[in-house]
């Protein structure tokens, strides 16, 4: 099972003055985090497009490009690319270039994303959301099929036998479809033969298990040739040596992040009781000691059989040193525990069709 990290490029706060750090420093911190994730053996790092002072990861492929040149094995992707407000041709060119620089380690994850600043920024209307997304996803998938394209749509000038290069190292780029749990999105991924990525950010994580079953059943029924059938889970999480200390530290940052978002979107700040519920047992917040997080990943894996699980750790101005330590523990402690447990399980139960 692959483990990894995703980030929106969280800024830092000066511990002395409390002042918000610079958006430029946030990009360098992000690069440092990816490099460490690679060194400690993690499988994946995703950058989620955002356009705010607190989360300034607006140009993910530039940071990922720097990471491509300074890492060896880690897969580099978006989590997510807000496809609706971007030009699929440009998205494809950038990720194909990233793929070339990293020798085939680039991935795209397309989705709505958790925020909507990119709509006014790039002159799109949220009212067109569904149509924009459907059209642009169609074009992106077509671009992945061949280097020459003839295409016509509503939101972008037509393409007449246009050449789109560079081409991916392995023929095609993995393109994941991200969803927050709307069953129709699961069916959409299955019908398109795409791997699906579930954002599970609150409540009971196992409530997504029926969606994973729906995905596999829909894939079975549709029988898309060469379908890439994989499931990933993205969730908030933080690993510390000590369970209680990790939960205590991360609460402050979790609270700050969701308080700020709630203020903008009209919902109340999170309460500690809800956090404690979700940060334990079957909850969606994977915060705790390495052993605890390994157990909880394995428990969810029992229900969902997901292929990849990756975590958003740097929320609400988490200090960089804590972010890096959490990445290190995920790679050096959690991953070996998860690998060993899954290998043992595979030995005990011979593969059945």
């Amino acid at each position: 099972m692959e483990l990894g990290v995703y980030s929106f490029g969280d800024v830092q706060r000066d511990p002395e003055t409390g002042a918000l750090g610079t958006t430029a420093e946030a990009q360098r911190n992000l690069l440092e985090a990816i490099q460490l994730a690679d060194q400690v053996g993690l499988d994946y790092f995703g950058i989620g497009e955002h356009h705010t002072y607190e989360m300034p990861a607006s140009a993910a492929t530039v940071v990922l490009g720097a990471a491509a040149a300074t890492t060896k094995n880690i897969l580099l992707g978006s989590a997510v690319t807000v496809l609706s407000t971007d030009d699929p041709v440009r998205v494809y060119q950038q990720f194909a270039t990233l793929d070339a620089l990293s020798n085939g380690r680039a991935e795209i994850t397309a989705g709505r994303g958790s925020s909507t600043e990119s709509f006014p920024l790039f002159g799109h209307s949220l009212n067109d959301y569904d149509d924009l997304y459907a059209e642009k996803l169609d074009l992106l998938l077509r671009l992945n099929e061949s280097d020459r394209i003839t295409w016509e749509g509503r939101f972008r000038p037509s393409l007449d036998d246009a050449l789109v290069v560079p081409r991916p190292v392995n023929g095609k780029l993995p393109i994941w479809l991200a969803t927050g749990g709307n069953p129709n999105s699961t069916v959409r991924a299955a019908i398109a033969g795409l791997p699906v990525s579930y954002a599970i950010i609150g409540g009971d994580a196992e409530r997504f298990a029926p969606l994973a079953q729906l995905y596999r059943q829909a894939v079975e029924q549709v029988k898309v040739p060469n379908a890439d059938v994989r499931i990933s889970v993205a969730s908030p999480g933080f690993v510390g040596e000590d369970s209680n200390a990790a939960k205590e530290l991360w609460w402050n940052h979790y609270h700050e992040a969701f308080r700020a978002i709630g203020e903008i979107r009209g919902f109340p700040a999170p309460q500690r009781a809800g956090y404690d519920r979700d940060a334990n047992g079957k909850g969606a917040l994977f915060v705790g000691s390495p052993e605890e997080i390994a157990d909880r990943i394995l428990a969810l894996h029992g229900a969902m059989k997901h292929d990849r699980h990756f975590f958003q750790m740097d929320l609400g101005q988490l200090p960089q040193k804590d972010f890096l330590r959490s990445i290190e523990l995920l790679g050096t402690k959690v991953k070996p525990l998860v690998d060993a447990a899954l290998a043992e399980k595979a030995d005990a139960q011979p593969e059945t069709a």
Binding site: P183, G203, R207, G266
Partner: protein, 214 residues
Amino acid sequence: MTEPKVIGILGAGRVGTAIARRALAAGYQVRVASSRPATEIALVLQFVAPGAIASDADEVIAGSDIIVLALPLSKYRNLRPDALAGKIVVDAMNYWAPTDGVLPEFEGAPSSTEVVADHLAGARLVRSFNHMGYHEIDGEARPKGDAERRAMAVAGDDPQARETVAGFIDRLGFDPVDAGRLSAASAFDIGTPVFGARLDRGQLKAALNLPAAA
């Protein structure tokens, strides 16, 4: 009216399927329609709300005792007022401009449900479910009398319809709180202290300025 038996849900997204699951668990028959083809809805329901029947909107409306609107708000104009006339209709939709885009007729409206009510003149419209998140509808339902049971506000101009929907909510696992006329719904829209908050019956009544004993 007699005790409702069939719950019809328009919309098979996260809210619609969460309400479908709870209604099935409470022993109701459940029918669901959405803009997707019925075969696709049937596949979805097989996994996310096993036992619910996929149907088209007209059949759902004609054959159900309570109809829950759980579709994207921007699609409300597709609802046929003549088909819903006389029916008990629960509006669970929210107007969320930062995520769904600006809809001019909702800008400045006292609450989104009043715009829906204007469109569906003739329906026995009740406002509820909207102030609780979809994963809470799933995870927070509790049996009657449970100390952790959360409350859900019910507003509407038809007292009988309010009472029927209150009974439905009670069976689903929440304490219904009668907020009165539809105009009271503005007190539990997005941006109010009630929206998204964990409140029991007493706390919700206090937040809505209702007398504690009522």
